[in-house]
């Protein structure tokens, strides 16, 4: 049962790059790392997913070191609209029990003008 640890909150200013790190020391061989974003009064929304090294899409980058015990979500040039809660999840590719889809408390990112 992989658990994740993230900072409770982070502050940033518009235009800056924000890096949010998630620790998952007990990650298993088959586990993928997925990040979600949640705005108030909305359900979480998928941002990015990776297994190892680096993944980049139009929204963010995900950096995963070789030991995979942590991962870093990188948001380039944040804007006020990036103010949200960000969740890191680990889950395996084989499916099955509830341990795959556990949300922690997430990181509340506040972007200031």
């Amino acid at each position: 049962l992989a658990k994740t640890t993230q900072p409770i909150s982070m502050d940033s200013y518009e235009g800056q790059e924000v890096n949010i790190t998630c620790s998952h020391n007990n990650i298993a061989t088959n586990d993928y790392i997925t990040w979600y974003q949640q705005f108030p009064s909305q359900g979480p929304r998928f941002i990015i997913q990776g297994y190892k090294t680096k993944v980049t899409n139009e929204v963010a980058s995900l950096f995963i070191p070789a030991d995979r015990k942590s991962s870093t979500l990188s948001l380039p040039r944040v804007s006020l609209s990036d103010t949200a809660v960000y969740y890191c999840l680990v889950g395996d590719a084989d499916g099955g029990s509830q341990g795959n889809l556990i949300f922690g408390k997430g990181t509340k990112l506040s972007v200031k003008p």
Partner: protein, 115 residues
């Protein structure tokens, strides 16, 4: 594609009353999840369906909560009788497969207030 539909968006009831929430997942998604999100916390998985069968309901308070997914499409979550601590947002999500590597698509949620 259409998203995950949930209703009602808001519901206010008194304790000991009952309430039901409805969810229609994305077409073709075999797996459906119900999460409970209490203010300030992350979503907590209540139940996971694969088609119309239950994969995991270990966190569902079965003395008062029930859920069904007839015909493997839409689903209903019921609470009877409600307690004050059931005040939360109930999120429905669906995915193509029920694995941790699959992306979940969430609905907007149903906010329950128990007085």
């Amino acid at each position: 594609e259409a998203g995950v539909a949930q209703s009602p968006r808001y519901k206010i009831i008194e304790k000991r009353q009952s309430v039901a929430f409805w969810c229609n997942p994305i077409s073709g998604h075999a797996t459906l999840y119900w999460y409970q999100q209490i203010l300030g916390q992350g979503p907590k998985l209540l139940i996971q369906f694969q088609n119309n069968g239950v994969v995991d309901d270990s966190q569902l308070p079965k003395d008062r909560f029930s859920a069904e997914r007839l015909k493997g499409v839409d689903s209903t979550l019921k609470i009877q009788p409600a307690k004050l601590e059931d005040s939360a947002v109930y999120l429905c999500a669906s995915s193509f497969l029920g694995t941790g590597a699959n992306v979940l698509t969430f609905g907007a949620g149903s906010r329950l207030t128990v007085l």
